[in-house]
Symmetry: C2
Subunit: 312 residues, 2 copies
């Protein structure tokens, strides 16, 4: 009987791998480099070899492995086909089929990395006990993953949960990386918060600790905690956009909880003090009690969620 599951999270620099038992306990975690040269043709063979090496090392037989779940940075459709992963050099690729072949027919499931991480947070992280949640990753960009009845909502073309690019500001003059103007990511990512801070520092005459040293999302929230007025104004702007964006998402999806992760979330629960007011002001009353929690798995959310895809 199957006793083991592998969870794989393919990033632009490293591939994270985890060996789990079927209860979701991780017994080993390791990384290999992501070889993106030659259109990323080595990536899947490298993963297969690393899994097979681990099985040899631990004396695990193929029949004991329930399968291999994989998260990848691009839209993955319901058939396990990834349509483009710019960071890996991949065009269209049948992730599921190719890795299965490399692993001698072992079961493989694939998903978009943000969606897979959301599943991980549901299973063993900040969303435990919930089956309908939205995971929000506030990192360099803003990512999202939506879980409905315990399953990833992939969307028609694998773009489900791409919440970083929902429109929240009509009067933006700087373009988002996606080419549009006024995307949530322009205000709620680490980069977005830095941009808000620089704008505020230019237009305000107020003294602030942010006028010394490097401006970053971390510096802003450190200053907020120290009571810096200008930093608080920046946090309010951030919270207004993010709260408004999450209110719309709540009105559409009606999740039980938002699980907030990514680098910005290291600021901690203070974030909620700034998100909640605008969330509550604009959200549909039937969704006003949606919960907020911090993600707890950090960079391991991906391998957990990947393993979970096999077990659900």
């Amino acid at each position: 009987m199957a006793k083991y599951v592998f969870g794989v999270d393919i990033g632009g620099t490293t591939v994270k791998l985890g060996l789990f038992d079927t209860d979701g306990n991780v017994s080993d975690k390791w990384e290999i480099p992501t070889r993106t040269e030659n259109s990323g043709t080595n990536i899947l063979p490298d993963i297969a070899k690393s899994i097979q090496d681990k099985m040899s090392e631990k004396g695990i037989d193929k029949a004991e492995v329930a399968g291999v779940g994989v998260g990848a940075p691009g839209p993955v459709d319901g058939d396990g086909i990834i349509h483009k992963a710019v960071n890996l050099g991949w065009g269209e690729l049948n992730l599921k089929k190719e890795l299965t072949a490399l692993l001698g027919g072992m079961r493989v499931e694939g998903g978009n990395d943000a969606n897979v991480a959301a599943l991980g947070e549901m299973w063993k992280g900040g969303g435990q006990g919930h089956k309908n949640l939205v995971a929000v990753t506030l990192g360099t960009g803003v990512g999202g993953g939506i879980i409905i009845n315990g399953k990833i909502m992939t969307g028609a073309t694998g773009s489900g949960g791409e919440i970083g690019h929902i429109h929240v500001e009509d009067n933006e003059t700087e373009a988002c990386g996606c080419g549009n103007y006024g995307c949530l990511e322009e205000y709620a990512s680490a980069t977005g918060i830095t941009r808000l801070a620089n704008r505020k520092l230019e237009t305000s005459g107020k003294a602030s600790v942010l006028r010394q040293g490097e401006v970053s999302a971390k510096a802003v929230f450190d200053a907020v905690k120290a009571g810096d007025e200008l930093a608080i104004e920046i946090a309010q702007q951030f919270g207004e956009y993010l709260g408004k964006g999450l209110a719309v998402i709540a009105g559409v999806i009606n999740p039980e909880i938002f699980v907030i992760g990514g680098g910005v979330s290291k600021a901690g629960e203070v974030l909620f003090d700034y998100i909640r007011p605008s969330f509550e002001k604009t959200v549909f009353h039937g969704c006003r009690n949606t919960g907020f929690a911090l993600a707890t798995l950090g960079n391991d959310a991906g391998i957990y969620g990947a393993a979970r895809m096999i077990l659900e």
Copy 2:
């Protein structure tokens, strides 16, 4: 073997009922009044009696009925419990359990009316051939129903798809019926379009056929078709809000298609000419090819979707 299904759509004034075969062909449609007095305690017994009378009339045995699907105007959770239906006088009620008991153990499934209508449009209406769609009802208010992988997305508390109350305007000074300011419903419902028209008629000096006769959503789109400049400006405002709102929904859900119904949709495909520009301007590029179609089942969408709940 089961050959029949009943579809029931409970409205504030009448209950619509349909007798379907298991392929979804309707052989009989009828209505009974909705008796909302005494906290609506007669409604379910009236429905049960009407179904039993129809079975006697047609000589249908209980064993030949696969079940009864019911759409009701309120949030219905995954267990078939309706939490409040103001228009029916109902508080919390286990729709599924109570109607099953009244029908001698017959299978019953319940859902929110807008969600159920969305399922009907997917099955036999404007969304045929799709499994991921958002039905948008532009009537007195704006309603919505979301179908993911062929199933209704209920949401955590039955408020999934309540898209009429997503926030689309920061500078609104008139409150929506829900108490918030700047909800989609304030601009995209029949009432909303009338409001936009009245505002425009007050503030613009332009001549318009709308200055004669009663202002309504229908009058606006009739005037648009006649080339009335002021009416076109109103349609542009309507389209800007609705396009922007649907773009956000697309970014969250990534549906294959939007199916637009309700009284306003009688204006026809001209609506899309006004919705598409702002949709395309603000939507995430991965969702730019989302389709638009008109609903085709009209007031029958509810009974179709209700029947479908039993057959899915």
